[in-house]
């Protein structure tokens, strides 16, 4: 690819305390070399998600991110070039790449998008967040009609969908967020039964009052001290779905002791606490996407998306998210969708 450069957002330094804009750098490099089993992607949309902060702190399911590395991200991208048995050039796919204009990733890791739906929806409801909400609530949490479900980080990219999946499954849904504004959205737009603010001094009492029959499913995206508050409220045979611990990511202190009274609660109440990877359910993704699409089309499920424009908007979006200042799915559009085909042909005719 001659004369085409690749803008990237890389980690400039590991955050000291809370993540700030100075922890990122915008760099310009060559378009990456594509190996024989890879596709070269031109990214259209990239995601902003707590995992990006988590991996600056410690290894997760991938190694810790070090200075100079591009920020990893779910992406919606157009295939520029690839192996003959891979997706054809011009195809728009979903994949895991980074905050950058061009990425080279293994062809086997990209997947088709759902036809006929907006591109941004492929990163939210029809992406890993929607699938995580779906399988976490239904297959891990095993929520049943009439049960009480608590969701922490309930206004987040996963949380705002998880609570709605539980409502559709017939549960009473209690959302925990950090602000009254978010709670209003959950109650008025997403059909949460109750909401409580974790920043209120009365938080434990508020939560207890909202869960008079105990908590059957706790869908935990926050971890940390909220889990300490929820544990004693769990009902016998309750399930805790460990989806994330966003409250523990934006710090350089790791391995905080938590939660208190852990084993005792698990033993005396026959609790099940479970983590999962949405990849574990990949054979069932097709069915899940069909149901999620039906719920959205019938108006049972609403998706909140917050789209920022320009690759250089991504760091500020992540900083705002970690400070609790975002609602729903945060997405950065790094390239306008219109005229994709035409631009590809003019720019990459030499490939």
């Amino acid at each position: 690819v001659s004369n085409v450069m690749n803008q990237q957002i890389v980690l400039a330094q590991s955050p000291s305390g809370r993540v700030t804009l100075s922890d990122f750098a915008l760099v310009t490099t060559e378009v990456p070399f594509r190996a024989a089993d890879q596709v070269l992607l031109r990214n259209i949309l990239v995601s902003v998600a707590p995992h990006q902060r988590a991996v600056m702190q410690e290894p997760t399911f991938r190694p810790r991110l070090v200075a100079g590395e591009v920020i990893p991200s779910s992406v919606i991208a157009e295939v520029v070039a690839g192996p003959p048995d891979g997706p054809a050039p011009g195809t728009v796919i979903a994949g895991t790449a980074g905050w950058e204009e061009y990425s080279a990733v293994r062809a086997a890791t990209v997947r088709p998008i759902l036809a006929g739906r907006p591109l941004v929806r492929q990163l939210s409801l029809f992406g890993l967040n929607g699938l995580t909400a779906y399988f976490g609530m239904l297959q891990v949490g095993c929520v049943r009609p009439g049960e009480t479900v608590v969701v922490s980080g309930a206004a987040g990219g996963v949380g705002h969908l998880a609570g709605q999946v539980a409502r559709i499954a017939g549960a009473h849904v209690v959302g925990i967020t950090g602000s009254a504004e978010k709670n209003l959205i959950l109650e008025k737009k997403l059909g949460y039964t109750h909401t409580v603010s974790r920043r209120s001094a009365a938080f434990p009492d508020d939560l207890r009052a909202a869960c008079a029959d105990g908590v059957d499913v706790y869908f935990d995206t926050a971890g940390g001290p909220i889990l300490d508050v929820v544990l004693p409220l769990m009902a016998t045979h309750g399930r805790i779905v460990c989806c994330g611990e966003t409250s523990q990511y934006d710090t350089d202190q790791t391995s905080l002791p938590s939660p208190r009274g852990f084993s005792k609660s698990v033993i005396t109440k026959s609790l099940r606490i479970e983590g999962f990877l949405v990849m574990d359910f990949s054979p069932q993704w097709g069915d899940a996407l069909t149901r999620l699409r039906d719920w959205e089309e019938s108006g049972q499920l609403a998706v909140i998306e917050d789209v920022r424009d320009g690759l250089d908007a991504a760091p500020a979006a992540l900083v705002a998210m970690m400070a609790g200042k975002s609602v729903g799915q945060l997405v950065v559009r790094i390239r306008q969708e219109a005229g994709l085909q035409q631009k590809r042909e003019t720019m990459f005719e030499t490939l």
Copy 2:
């Protein structure tokens, strides 16, 4: 029941720190009144188990034990009298009663013993401990051939059976105990693959070395700091069976913070952590007892029992157990088994 008194061991005071003999009192009371739906039991064998210490500290699945109350216990007992549709007088049953000569319990809560096996075995392999080991390892832990299983409290009443169930299921079994003497018994008599001592300074390294491929199932009877050591060794999709936390019972400090890095491990390794009550599996008890009996008869599974004589031996047995000085199932025989029928007839002819 005229002229017959009831000796009981009651809690004299809640232990301050470690439990001692002075926390118990031997008292003599009337034989309890039997309500219409109850059976009057004359107890033969009572159990000594960590739960008896736990319930002096905090509520468990039953309310906290307070001064003056009899120590609760699994028992093997003879039915003295009961409702017409209950077990006939003279029948020997298993039930939940207390450290006392006579108990009145709901007839619906007693269950038959396994025919043709020693009475003491009804409290160990064919009692709640055997069933806990069986269902905890196979149904909650879901151990599979070739997996690595770690058992804490591996020489205890449940632990020494749980490790053998895992071995029979084809697992590599690593036992954690508090002494080299116990480890020798596990390796030589019970077929444990490896053992490590939790009191060794090299404990974390020893355990890591014994579990080179990671821990697929952790059968936890100890809780506390051992769980902190095991968590980072768990393999992806590992299962932690929360059976007890004996390391936390013999103290008046409750709700110790534990374990560290909990949510992170659960999330990044897709762990499942689960507590259970053996009652949850009661429809399958018959099948389980058949298999346990077959394993014992074929010599695949050995049972270690430590039987002390006389009701007044029970407190010292519990104190020794909590100090880590017991192996296998501790049982107190409060009445000789021989001549049960004859003694019953002579003593209770007026009932």
